[in-house]
């Protein structure tokens, strides 16, 4: 049977506020355990939550960016359950009245565009961490993360493959960073995915029973976990079994998902409106003010790159995958260079070297201005593309700007037609048999002559000029 995969994602994006969502404690990562947990975070008797305006503003930014409804009135509720890293015994979240309703995100999979609809996005606080090692059979509790603001972004079950799910997650990841509402650091847990996965016979209208896979903290794990889960579910159904709704955990070491708790074991969270917080009222003026401050978003940037720079959809997609990379590219291109040349170098050499050395674009040793300097020398014919790669490597290693490297290493392209003609004349004189064969119709030998000339000039011959001279002299 043909199976259709149905996936919906819940993403927890940690909002980039300096202080927590309901207290004044710092949200900075990596402090000593409990150094950033104030009276409110540890839930002392008598303390009360006060909503961080910055967290709300970030939710508004997100809502506007995905074309959602930013609700004028939303409500914080308590989600009650006991766990040692949940100090109040309840999490403050939004339940039936979330701040952001609807919206959509366009993704590109195998060249085709698809729209993923969003159900909602709501504000909530993070829990602390239980530390099970190093305490001799006891559990340590670190409440630094307790109260960190999260935006939980829930999609509709609109994705039909792990590839689409990853494309959606990446698009969302790029978007929250564009919006400057989340640092997107997946290793530190700033952007976490849960996937709801089910399968159904192709053509069926009814959804299959879903399983929720928790805490997928990389795009690769997201993809692997979904693929494992899909084949697990298909195997069960095809061998006559049924899928039970449950929460599963992905084990990246074993590359499998395993049951965490069944639907029957699910908590009754006893949600009710938090009486310590008034309903969140957002005035239209605030929404408009935030709208005015939105940056150009990835989708708009992408189509601008296609229309204004003449780039392909694919190239535009790569270059806009992060705000920083796009800014770097635009900085290079605005130096009056051919955008395609710039795109090729940013996607090729820059991205390649960054990947190789596991660096972010912000840590790139070659500034956009320096790269523009190099590309200028290609465009004005001072050096060839091939030599430029050599110069690039030297620049990467910190040997200086393009011009000084070209000068120091004597890499300047030979564009003096007199000099080139002299070299070509010598090659013709020294290779009579090849000349004769070429003239007799063996066109392929042209490459041989180019090679000889490049060898003689140490690769510094202007390729276009050389080719022209060779053609002229060989056909004489």
């Amino acid at each position: 049977m043909q199976w259709e995969v149905v996936i919906g994602l819940e993403v927890h994006a940690q909002l980039s506020t300096e202080s927590k969502i309901f207290s004044g404690a710092s949200t900075a990562f990596g402090a000593a355990p409990n150094a950033q947990a104030c009276a409110v975070d540890i839930a002392l008797p008598g303390v009360l939550p006060v909503l961080n305006r910055g967290a709300v503003e970030r939710a508004i930014r997100f809502g506007l960016a995905v074309g959602a409804e930013v609700r004028h009135r939303s409500v914080f509720s308590r989600k009650n359950y006991f766990y040692p890293d949940l100090p109040k015994g309840y999490q403050i979240s939004q339940f039936d009245l979330p701040v952001v309703l609807g919206g959509e995100i366009a993704i590109l999979v195998d060249g085709a565009e698809k729209t993923v609809k969003l159900t909602r996005a709501h504000l909530e606080e993070d829990a602390g961490k239980s530390l099970h090692e190093d305490f001799h059979g006891m559990t340590g509790i670190d409440l630094n993360r307790a109260g960190t603001p999260l935006l939980e972004i829930v999609s509709e079950p609109d994705m039909r493959s792990s590839k689409e799910a990853v494309a959606y997650a990446k698009e969302l990841h790029s978007l929250v960073r564009y919006l400057d509402i989340c640092d997107g650091n997946m290793q530190e847990g700033s952007f976490r995915c849960d996937a709801n996965v089910s399968v159904r016979p192709m053509g069926s209208e009814k959804y299959g029973t879903r399983c929720e896979i928790k805490n997928l903290n990389s795009f690769r794990f997201l993809e692997r976990a979904i693929e494992y889960e899909v084949s697990r579910q298909i195997d069960i159904i095809e061998s006559g079994g049924v899928i039970h709704q449950e929460t599963r955990l992905y084990d990246s070491v074993k590359d499998e998902t395993r049951s965490m708790r069944s639907k029957e074991e699910a908590h009754d969270y006893r949600y009710f409106p938090d009486p310590d917080l008034l309903p969140l009222e957002i005035a239209q003026e605030w929404i408009e003010k935030v709208r005015g401050s939105l940056p150009e978003l990835p989708a708009a940037k992408r189509s601008r790159y296609v229309s204004d720079f003449g780039l392909s959809q694919y190239d535009a997609g790569v270059l806009t995958s992060s705000k920083e990379l796009a800014a770097y590219f635009e900085d290079v291109a605005k130096a009056g260079l051919d955008p395609k040349l710039c795109a090729n170098w940013v996607m090729g050499e820059i991205n390649g070297w960054l990947n190789k050395e596991a660096l972010e674009i912000g840590q790139c040793p070659i500034s956009s201005r320096s790269l523009a300097g190099l590309l200028n020398r290609i465009q004005d014919g001072t050096i060839s593309g091939k030599i430029a790669k050599e110069v690039f490597e030297a620049m990467w290693k910190g040997e200086g700007e393009a011009d000084s490297i070209i000068e120091a290493k004597g890499l300047k392209q030979i564009s003096d037609s007199g000099a080139l003609e002299k070299i070509v004349d010598e090659i013709i004189a020294n290779n009579p048999s090849q000349v004769a064969d070429y003239r007799a119709g063996r066109d392929k030998l042209f490459a041989f002559f180019v090679g000889q000339a490049m060898k003689a000039t140490k690769g510094q011959a202007n390729p276009a000029q050389l080719s022209e001279i060779l053609k002229k002299k060989l056909s004489a």
């Binding site: 540890i42 009360l48 006893r270």
Partner: protein
Amino acid sequence: MFNASLKDLSAMLSGGKISSVELTREFLGRIDALNPEINAFITVDIDKSLMQAKLADAMIASGRAHPLTGIPVAQKDIFCAKDWLTTCGSKMLSNFVSPYDAHVIERFNSVGAVNIGKTNMDEFAMGSSNETSHYGSVKNPWDRQAVPGGSSGGSAAAVAARMAPVATGTDTGGSIRQPAALCGISGIKPTYGLVSRYGMIAFASSLDQGGPMAKSAEDLALMLGLMTGFDSRDSTSLDRPVEDYSRDLDKPLDGLRIGLPREYFAEGLSADVEEAVRAAISEYEKMGATIVDVSLPNTKLSIPVYYVLAPAEASSNLSRYDGVRYGYRAKDYKDLTEMYEKSRSEGFGAEVKRRIMVGTYVLSHGYYDAYYMQAQKLRRLIAKDFSEAFKQCDVIMGPTSPSTAFNLGEKGDDPVQMYLSDIYTIAVNLAGLPGMSIPAGFGKNGRPVGLQIVGNYFSEAKMLNVAHQYQKLTDWHLKMPAI
């Protein structure tokens, strides 16, 4: 001296007739003598109190005095006070020394008032008799067989027995007014949102409100001015200009319209309480007030509504007492679940557990709509009753409690009988209105009767005026138990 008003004590302090240290010693002496029997205080810390008194004397000497500078104040043990044991009447917090001050405590500290001790109370403010306290019952100073009321029973008894000139309380369903009535003192629960709840240990957040307890309305007015005011740490705190609650005390009451809800003078009200309350109302008529018959038709619903909403909020508010970070933790447990179960079973008393269970039940999946949502709807109807009534009158009056103080242990076996004793006070919390109780005589058994005055939102100054005029004409509030 221990019978003097705040105004007089303040004048004596600023006039140099007495120092705060002397005054504090005077009251500490009374506590030492009377508290073993009355049990109004959970914690007394002579050194801390005297230290504050010394600071107060320095403030007075430098001329920076407020009417409450140097005045001993008994603080209900629900208010977190830095470096003071703060138990909320519970074994659960029997080891909790607060690392911070509640907003209310800060306010008193800021003017140099002296914390004379932390008063006994029903566990987590859940009770109407003070019998649910982990620290034992408080005895009513008027009659040691009688309860002082609750949950602010320790504060009420402390003022009634003149172990403190004034005290603080909190009122979720009558916990200031009912013990004030039963102990023959004055107390006011302000409009919800006027007194910050920051540092006031939560019972039912949407109903809890702190307020003063004292011998007279005049004293309450001075206290209230200090305790109210916007606090950004409490999202339900109201950002309003600070008021001088004494400003209207001396206004005549000509033309005052007093609403008498017929539901407050119906079945269940003791004859002697009714008699005393009606006598008080006659006094008002003599002062030029007119009586208006009003109706609060949903009064009866207030008890079921309250006993859904308050436990619902409480069940969640008390989840933080899990033995993990502070407070009581069971000695032996084999895993996390058992640690929770034992710590909470051993740390909470029966009434608290009952309410946690009720609250958990009404919030459960499948019951939420039928209980919690329904109760919220009815809560709005109850509030509407009052807004309708206030179209016809300026204040509402009636009994604070259906009877005078009952005997210790009398209602111990029947929680519903106990809950019914709050029938006249609960609706006021559900509506968020201000309410107060002032002494209005005695019942047949010689125990005090309280007159309840309910005003419209933010009409505290008017209510205090109404109470003060009565207290100028009568001397019930000056009566002191024979101790």
